[in-house]
Amino acid sequence: MKRFINLFKQDTRVIIRSGLHYAVIFVSVMFIILINFVIPESLEVKSNEFFYDGTQGKILEPFLLAGGVETDSIFSNYDDFIGALEENGDSIGIQLEGSAENARFTIFSQNTESIKNINLEEAVLESILENIRGTVGPPNYRVENLREEAPPIPFNKNLIPVFLTYEVVALGFLLIAVMIFQEKAEGSIHAYRVSSSGTAIYILSKVAIFTLIAVLYGVITTVSTAGFNIDYAVLLLLMILASIFMTLLGLLVSIFFKNISEFLFVTFGVLLIMQLPAISYINPTFAPGFIKWIPMYPVLFGLREALFSTGKQNYLFPYLITLIAGIVIIFAACYFAVRKRLMRSGL
C-alpha cells in the first residue's frame, strides 16, 4: 500500500507540473458557460422542408400554418419554390395540386432516401390529406406507455452526458499514453524497473490518478450544469468504471508505440470508433447491433438515465456487468503487456 501511495504521489506531481489541471479547469469552465448561458434549451433546427400549395382554394396552406410550419417555408409561386429547393441542397419539397377530393402530391427529393423512408413520407402526406378532408375515422389503436411520459430533456442539458463520456471519461485514454511516452523519454521507467514495486502497482497508480481527475472534473461540471437533483451514486459509479476502462485501454494501446506522434493517429481512430454511439444518442431510433457493443454506448445512455431519470428499472446492472467484464479483460491484457514490453524489455 505504501508503495502504491508513493507512486501515486509521484504521478500526481508529474500531472500538476505539466499544468494539465489548468486545461481541465479551462475546458470545464468553458463547458459550464456554454451550457448555462450560450446553448439554448431548445434548438431551432434548420427547416429543410418547402411546400408549394398549387390547389384551388389553397387548402394546404392553412393546415400547415396551424401545424406550426413557418410562412417562409410555404410558397405560392412555383418558381420561388424550386429556387428555394435549389438554394438548399439538403431540403425536400412537397407540392400539392388539384383539389381535396382529387389531390396529387409531388415529393421533390435531393438526397438519397431508403424506400422505407419514402413509404413513411407517403403515409404522412396521406394522413395530412385526410385531416384536410375531415375524413379521419375513429382510431383503431390505443397507445400504452410503459412508464409515465418523461418531460423532454432541454437541448443544452442533453449535451452533458456527451461531454462526460467523451471529454471527462475519455481523458485518461490519451493522458496515460502521454505519461508512458514521457517516462520512456525521461528514463524514469528504467528506474522503476529496478525498484521493488511491481507491475500491478505501476498500472493501478496511473489508473487511480486519472480516475480521480475524471471524477473531480465530472462532478464539478455536473453540479454546475445539472444541479444536485440527480442520481449521483449511479453517475459516480459509471464515471469511475468507464474512466478505469478508458485509461486501461489507453495504456494497452500506447505500449505498442514508440512515441506520441505514432500514437496520435491511432488515438483518433480509436476515439472515432468510441464516438459512434453518439449518433444513436442523437437519434435513438438508429441503433445497429454493432454500436451497442462499443463500451461507450452503455456509458452514454447510463449517464443520461442517471442525470435525467425516466424511471427505467434494471438498466444499470447489464451496463455495469459490461463495463466490469471489459475492465477485467483489459487489465489482464495490460498487466501482461506492461510486464513484457515496459518492465522487462529494453524499450
Binding site: R104, S109, L264, G311
Partner: protein, 333 residues
C-alpha cells in the same frame, strides 16, 4: 536559403520514415475513412424500428416492414421488454380488434405520431392521394458530404498537431539547441514545417476524399483548399509546440484547442444560415467553409477563394502576433 529549408524538410521526412510515422500517417486516416465509408450506408438507409408479436398477424407484419425494420417476438411481454431498452423502438401488438402501440414514455412526439400514421396507412383500403416522386439536384447524401468535410478537416489539423509534438520532442531532447546554432532562421524553420504539413495534409486529404466521395468532387479545388487550410493547421501546431514544455502539457493545450477546432465546424453544420456570422471570427470556420464549397458546392467560386484568402490572412496575422513569443520559446533566431 532554399537549400536550408529543403535540407530541414528532408531531415523531417527521413525522421518520419525512421519512426514509421509515414506509414501511420497514410494508413490511419485511410483506415478511419474506410470505417466512415463502411458506416455511411447504415446511416443513409436507417429507418424506424418496430417490435411486434404474433398477435398482429403475418400479413400486418410484412406490410409494416415496408415502413421500417421489424423485430418479431412471441409475446406482448417480450415486446414490452424490448421497447424498454435503450434505443427508441415502437412496439405494436393486437388486443382483440384493436392494435396497441407500446411506447416507453420518453420518445419524441414525432415517434408517437408516426406509429399511428403507419397503422392508419396499412389499414387504409384505398390510397388517399396520388403521390409522385421527383429527384432533383445530383441526389447527394449530405451525411456523406459532411463526413468527408469533417474527415478532411481532422486530417489537416492532425498534421499540425503532429508537427507540435515534433517541436516538443525537439525541445525535450534538446535537439532544438542544435537547430538554434545552425544557420536556419525561425521563418525558414516555420516554412519548412508548413511545407511538411501542407504536403502530407493535402496528399492524405485527397486519398481520404477518393475513398469517401470517389470522383464526384473537384480535386483541383481540394488541392488548393488543403494547401490554404494547412496554413492554419501549421499555426495551431506552432502554438501547441511553442507553449508546451513537455508532452503532457502539449496534450493539455491540444485538448483546449480541439474544443474550438472541432466544435466550431460542428456548430456551423447545425446552425441556420442567417446566424452563420456568429462563426466568422473563428479562423477554422473559414477552413470549414473552404471544404463545404468543395464537397457540397453550395457557395460560388468567389466564396471558395474568399474563404481561402481569409484562412491565409488570419493564419498570417496569428503567426505575426505569435512570432516574438515563438522566438523566446523555440529559441531559433
Amino acid at each position: 536559403m532554399f537549400k536550408r529549408i529543403l535540407n530541414f524538410f528532408l531531415r523531417d521526412i527521413s525522421g518520419f520514415f525512421r519512426d514509421n510515422i509515414f506509414i501511420l500517417m497514410i494508413l490511419m486516416p485511410i483506415l478511419i475513412v474506410i470505417i466512415i465509408r463502411f458506416f455511411i450506408p447504415t446511416v443513409e438507409t436507417s429507418s424506424i424500428s418496430f417490435a411486434v408479436d404474433d398477435s398482429v398477424g403475418q400479413e400486418f407484419a410484412s406490410m409494416l416492414e415496408d415502413y421500417g425494420n421489424i423485430v418479431e417476438y412471441d409475446s406482448p411481454e417480450r415486446v414490452k421488454e424490448r421497447v424498454g431498452g435503450t434505443d427508441d423502438i415502437i412496439g405494436i401488438t393486437r388486443d382483440g380488434d384493436q392494435y396497441v402501440i407500446i411506447l416507453e414514455g420518453n420518445e419524441k412526439e414525432e415517434i408517437k405520431e408516426i406509429a399511428a400514421i403507419v397503422i392508419d396507412d396499412i389499414l387504409r383500403e384505398e390510397p388517399a392521394a396520388e403521390i409522385i416522386h421527383r429527384q432533383v439536384g445530383s441526389s447527394k447524401s449530405l451525411f456523406r458530404e459532411y463526413s468527408a468535410i469533417m474527415a478532411v478537416l481532422m486530417i489537416i489539423f492532425i498534421q499540425g498537431m503532429l508537427m507540435a509534438f515534433y517541436i516538443i520532442e525537439e525541445k525535450e531532447s534538446k535537439v532544438i539547441y542544435a537547430i538554434a546554432v545552425s544557420p536556419l532562421r525561425l521563418w525558414e524553420y516555420i516554412f519548412a514545417r508548413w511545407l511538411l504539413v501542407a504536403i502530407t495534409g493535402t496528399v492524405v486529404s485527397i486519398i481520404a476524399s477518393l475513398i469517401l466521395m470517389g470522383t464526384s468532387v473537384s480535386y483541383m479545388l481540394l488541392l488548393v483548399g488543403a494547401v490554404f487550410s494547412s496554413s492554419l493547421a501549421m499555426v495551431v501546431g506552432l502554438l501547441i509546440g511553442g507553449l508546451a514544455g513537455n508532452q503532457i502539457s502539449g496534450i493539455a493545450i491540444m485538448k483546449v484547442l480541439n474544443l474550438v477546432i472541432f466544435l466550431v465546424p460542428l456548430g456551423a453544420i447545425f446552425v441556420h444560415d442567417p446566424y452563420q456570422y456568429f462563426f466568422y471570427p473563428f479562423p477554422n470556420y473559414w477552413v470549414f467553409r473552404i471544404l463545404k464549397n468543395i464537397f457540397i458546392g453550395t457557395g460560388s467560386t468567389g466564396d471558395f477563394w474568399l474563404s481561402c484568402g481569409i484562412t491565409l490572412v488570419s493564419s498570417i496575422i496569428i503567426l505575426v502576433i505569435l512570432l516574438p513569443f515563438l522566438k523566446r520559446r523555440i529559441q531559433i533566431r
